[in-house]
């Protein structure tokens, strides 16, 4: 049976590096993914995620096992990212640069046809570019909700904001993304029927 996050954290506190490594492995993808949405640079995202894991380990004794480790850790990662963004105004990097840097590219397309793959890549690029243009607060809330699949209460805990504000951020962020993508021609001229 897989040990729980709390058990791994307790073992890590007791001195087990392997336990902490297992805990890191469990949340590495989520952490790098979220950081990449915030800074748009794969190497930087890894650095920030690593910094967050190191900082989390230094404060592991303050982790309450009653809480979810992911929520607690994302809070640490959020603080690391905010510190970084305050220290440095970063330039954004396009997804092409990420792909040239070993970025895996979009997940397997629903349809294996080259057309569908090209369309997915095109949509992913447009969406990622639109995400870069909205406010960082909206972007982070959207990444936590739609990529990490967290609830509003958890996002509110991570960002240190009231739930109402998180809902507002999500709503406004989505509206802004819709406006950007519509302006780029993703919205059809006429209505779309749900059946193909």
């Amino acid at each position: 049976m897989e040990p729980t996050d709390a058990e791994l954290a307790r073992q890590a506190l007791a001195g087990s590096q392997a336990a902490y490594q297992a805990l890191v492995a469990r949340y590495a993808s989520a952490a790098v993914n979220l950081a990449a949405r915030l800074v748009h640079d794969r190497a930087l995202a890894e650095d920030l995620a690593q910094e967050a894991f190191v900082r989390a380990f230094a404060r592991l004794s303050t982790f309450d096992p009653e809480r979810r480790f992911s929520s607690w850790f994302f809070q640490v990662l959020h603080n690391v990212a905010v510190d970084f963004l305050r220290r440095k105004r970063i330039d954004t990097v396009s997804l092409d640069v990420l792909q040239a840097d070993g970025y895996p590219g979009p997940p397997a397309a629903r349809s294996s046809s080259p057309d569908a793959q090209a369309e997915q890549r095109s949509l992913a690029d447009a969406l990622a570019a639109a995400l870069r243009r909205i406010r960082p607060e909206y972007r982070e809330a959207i990444a936590l909700k739609y990529q990490q699949d967290l609830g509003i209460d958890e996002i509110a805990g991570i960002l240190g904001l009231p739930e109402g504000t998180v809902k507002t951020y999500l709503h406004r962020g989505r509206k802004e993304l819709a406006a950007i993508l519509s302006a780029e021609g993703w919205k059809p001229e006429t209505g779309v029927s749900e059946t193909p």
Partner: protein, 169 residues
Amino acid sequence: MTDWRRDAEMWLEREGQDDKAAEVAFGQMCAALPPVEPSPGFAARTAAAAWSARARRHRLAAAAYAAAVASVAGAAALVVAFGAPGWLLLTGARIAASALMTLLLSAATLAEVWTSMAGGGTAVARVLVMPQGVAALVTVELVGAAALYALHRLLRDDVRFRNTGPLCI
């Protein structure tokens, strides 16, 4: 037309019409975003970095502790070996006395502030127990509530106006 384009179009169509449906469609469309996976060996490197950071912290704490113990022991050894010089005792006594004075003055200032705050609170309470005071307070609150309501209406109208879409001429 591919599934992805249809998803995107469906989401954009639903925005502004059905908020709940738009949210669901947007969630489905977000699956198009490529996941950014960490490089191989990330977990091992990170755990090792956490361990070296901890070792560094321990070393630093041990060095600070050793330095503190050494300086106290050194000072004590000097006093034992040569006796405490008069000027040292005098300076120490002066510093201690001025620190004590500062502490007492701060406490006195704090007490004064507390007394004035308590006085202010008492005055407000006296006004509030009078019927005229209560009436004045209720009036002020009613005026404030009315102003807030008016502001709320104005903002709502403003949002409604902005959501009407482009003006057709």
